[in-house]
């Protein structure tokens, strides 16, 4: 019988209008990986933030190593040996990796010895297979690399209790595998881990016990042996979930989007898109597979007009100018960006505003730009919130207070209700629970059946296989080949993603 390093007893947390944690009990045993599952808005992040001292519980107690712990701030949590990777990163963008690790360390009195840190970081990087240069500035790093920095921060502090809030949401499958290896190593060295994810496969792979939350309550805690994907999904959403969506053969129509010889630079300066060409027809979903950092973001942003480029982008045979989002919106282009907090939403505006940001500039909807009556938006907003099953206490809530997955639902609701003709979707289900994922799949398929063209950029091959009619592989800013969307071609696609197989036009 192993001891409990962490025990939560009857934790209650209320936010205005919502009971985010409702008498939650949870134990973490020494050396175990304990997965936390639950729908978007179930209260997982809230609970973790309470353990780390970011939120204050209204009721309940926390015990660390059997002792009552009064965790009033992250400072205290760190003293108790707790470390956390938050759902949205907390790094100082202008600092180097080493400086971010040095920040707040107790071992230095006046001078942070960056050279010492660099040396230890290199050791840790080697030991745990976390490749990142200590000198790099955070803002120059990809999301996967930033994730590694967060993990290195925990490792450096030698945290005994590690909380990882959706660490794999933004990782490629390969990066996720790397992370799992690291987690297994960490556990070997005596750490205990709470791991949040919406990916049931991962949860079943990595954890020893699994706790499922719903509407702020713990539904059940199971041993991994007792669980499978079906059981977990049912416990999470309260019904059976089918992620294999029915899809009729494509009725492809005219050419909707044509990209020729596209060149575009990344924020760091060099070209991220190198002479890329592709075509998407009405009524089909083209999936773009590729390892993150091969130009996905730049491709999507160029097509939507957010990033400068050279080359030709045509929609419905009309040549579009770079950096002209307006004309794209008028051509019925919907955009689900990868960065929902930064690009897609205005955090301080109420939820119902965010749902309609787009009709302000489009010709769609009967909306008078000179006689704007926000109240009139509430009714349609209510319908959308219902349709997309957004968990919120009110329509007036600032969108920044929503849980990560619910923010994503708001973006999808806004972009997809205008009956778009071309949808550019970048990681559309990132951070969504399985129930929500299922509904996004249905929505995208329905849009396709109604004749929309869909460009789907995703890291998850399974998602691409489920949805796409064709798969294109993106490598170093070019399409290196096409394939059929099924498991049989997995190896072929994998090789192309690694840049091994050369062009095969399809």
């Amino acid at each position: 019988m192993s001891e409990n390093v962490l025990e939560l007893s009857n934790i209650v947390k209320r936010f205005p209008g919502i009971l985010a944690n409702d008498h939650v009990n949870l134990t973490l045993k020494k050396g175990e990986v304990h997965a936390l599952l639950g729908e978007n808005g179930a209260g997982k992040s809230t609970l973790m933030n309470i353990i780390y001292g970011i939120y204050k519980a209204d009721e309940g107690e926390i015990y660390v190593n059997g002792q009552r712990a009064n965790i009033t701030s992250p400072h205290k949590a760190i003293e108790y040996g707790i470390g956390m990777i938050q759902q949205h990163f907390s790094l100082v963008p202008s600092f180097s990796v080493a400086e971010n690790v040095a920040l707040g360390l107790k071992e230095f009195h006046l001078f942070p010895r960056i050279d010492v840190i660099k040396k230890r970081l290199r050791e840790l990087s080697k030991k745990f297979g976390l490749d990142v240069k200590p000198e790099s500035r955070i803002w120059q790093l990809s999301a996967g690399e930033q994730q590694r920095v967060e993990i290195l921060k925990l490792l450096y502090m030698n945290s005994q209790i590690m909380i990882l809030d959706e660490p794999t949401a933004i990782l490629t499958p390969q990066e996720a595998e790397g992370l799992f290896k690291t987690i297994k190593e960490m556990v070997k060295y005596g750490a205990s881990v709470i791991f949040i994810s919406h990916k049931l496969k991962e949860v079943l792979e990595i954890s020893d016990r699994i706790t499922v939350m719903r509407h702020g309550k713990v539904v059940d805690t199971l041993l991994r042996e007792e669980a499978d994907e079906k059981i977990l999904a049912r416990k999470m959403v309260g019904r059976d979930v089918v992620l294999r969506v029915e899809k009729s053969p494509p009725k492809t129509g005219d050419l909707k989007l044509s990209v020729k010889n596209l060149y575009s630079r990344s924020d760091k300066g060099p070209f991220a898109i190198n002479g890329l060409s592709l075509e998407v027809r009405k009524g089909e979903i083209l999936g773009i597979a590729g390892v993150a950092g091969n130009g996905q973001r730049e491709l999507a942003e160029s097509i939507y007009g957010l990033r400068d480029y050279t080359g030709e982008i045509e929609i419905d045979g009309t040549m579009l100018k770079p950096l002209d989002v307006h004309s794209r919106i008028n051509h019925g282009v919907a955009y689900v960006p990868q960065d929902r907090k930064g690009v897609a939403l205005c955090g301080n505006l109420p939820l119902y505003y965010n749902l309609f940001l787009k009709i302000f500039t489009s010709k769609q909807g009967d909306f008078n730009p000179y006689l704007f009556n926000p109240i009139s938006l509430k009714k349609p907003a209510e319908a959308l919130v219902k349709e997309y099953d957004v968990a919120t206490s009110s329509l007036d809530l600032s969108v920044k207070y929503l849980s990560g997955g619910n923010m994503q639902k708001i973006v999808l609701a806004r972009e997809l209700t205008l009956n778009p003709e071309l949808i550019i979707a970048v990681h559309p289900t990132r951070g969504l629970d399985v129930g929500a994922m299922e509904s996004v799949y249905k929505i995208l398929i329905k849009a396709r059946e109604n004749g929309a063209a869909v460009l789907l950029i995703a890291g998850d091959l399974e998602e691409i296989f489920t949805l796409s009619d064709r798969v294109a592989v993106l490598y170093e800013g070019r399409i290196v080949g096409y394939s059929e969307p099924d498991e049989e071609h997995l190896e072929e696609i994998g090789l192309m993603m690694a840049g091994i197989k050369k062009e095969r036009v399809g």
């Binding site: 780390y52 970011i54 939120y55 204050k56 701030s73 992250p74 400072h75 949590a77 760190i78 003293e79 956390m84 938050q86 990163f89 907390s90 790094l91 100082v92 963008p93 202008s94 600092f95 400086e99 971010n100 040095a102 920040l103 707040g104 230095f108 009195h109 006046l110 001078f111 942070p112 500035r137 803002w139 921060k153 924020d267 300066g269 955090g347 920044k400 207070y401």
Partner: protein, 310 residues
């Protein structure tokens, strides 16, 4: 002849740059922690007045300096309380400080108008002062000038080389991240806002204890605003602040010089130069890439509360 004008211009640049330097360094500290304090002008005035009053009544110049810093620090702590604890709009609160400082110093200062008091005298630094040309300009000055020489590099060193400086920068860049690493964001902001006020007070004291030996109502004459601008000019870097302060000080001295020699540049145009320079600096640092490296602290002017998401 021209040699004399040159020497006196440079010497004047140092003298009129020194109060700007103190105030700018103070504002850099506050802004680095994420607190925008536009009340520099008010804090300088309080400093100038308090310094003069104490030196007049006690004839103790160093005591006067300390009192000036303390008085301005009290004003700054008001701003800190309002913008850190109450999370009120920092621009409004800073502007209120300007009027508060001007009003209080004007009111209490009435009975000191037109009186002379003691002031700091030049102290020659042996050997260094013997260096031809520059020696006399740089090392035959009053002690507060020397404090400025030491303070700017010290603050630079503190910001970039020490743990506390690193914490300070992190709090201004990403308070959430700093908090998650166990750094007390509010406390940090309080400390540096108040320290910033003390330095503004020192800048004010320089005007009434070294630059002149009198108290004149509104004697700062907009220097507090120039300091606010200088922070941007110096891209929040203490060493560049030093350069900028002496440069702007030099420009203000030149105004008089040019008037005397009847050069046809109107002084009003000269007065615009600091702002013009600053706009140029802002143009150079406006690209995304430059901003990440040299821009304003990301959380400048944004109140932080742990349970609120940003």
């Amino acid at each position: 002849m021209s040699h004399d004008i040159l020497t006196s211009t440079f010497a004047g640049a140092i003298r009129s740059g020194t109060p700007l330097l103190f105030a700018t360094l103070g504002e850099i500290l506050a802004e680095r922690s994420g607190i925008l304090n536009l009340g520099v002008e008010g804090m300088m005035l309080i400093g100038a007045f308090t310094g003069f009053a104490v030196s007049y009544t006690t004839s103790n110049l160093w005591l006067a300096v300390v009192a000036a810093m303390g008085a301005a620090a009290i004003l700054a702590s008001l701003h800190a309380f309002v913008s850190i604890t109450l999370k009120v709009n920092q621009v409004v609160s800073g502007l209120a400080l300007v009027f508060l400082g001007a009003g209080l110093s004007g009111f209490w200062g009435q009975r000191f108008v037109g009186i002379q008091s003691v002031s700091f005298v030049n102290v020659k630094i042996p050997l260094l002062a013997e260096i031809p040309f520059v020696g006399n300009i740089l090392f035959n000055r009053d002690p507060l000038v020397y404090v400025g020489y030491v303070l700017a590099p010290f603050i630079w060193w503190y910001l970039y080389k020490t743990k506390y400086g690193m914490n300070l920068r992190a709090v201004g860049e990403a308070p959430g991240a700093a908090d998650a690493r166990g750094i007390n964001v509010s406390l940090t902001r309080y400390i540096y806002t108040i320290m910033g006020g003390a330095l503004a007070g020192l800048g004010g004291a320089y005007l009434s204890l070294a630059y002149t030996s009198m108290w004149v109502e509104n004697m700062t004459a907009g220097r507090g605003w120039i300091a606010v601008v200088l922070v941007i000019f110096a891209i929040w870097d203490p060493l560049l602040a030093m350069l900028g302060a002496y440069l702007f000080g030099g420009i203000s001295v030149l105004q008089f010089g040019l008037q005397v020699t009847q050069t046809p540049i109107p002084p009003n145009i000269m007065k615009m130069f600091p702002y013009l320079f600053t706009v140029l600096v802002m143009l150079f640092t406006s690209s995304e890439k430059m901003k990440k490296r040299f821009g304003a602290p990301s959380a400048l002017g944004v109140p932080y509360s742990r349970e609120e998401k940003t």
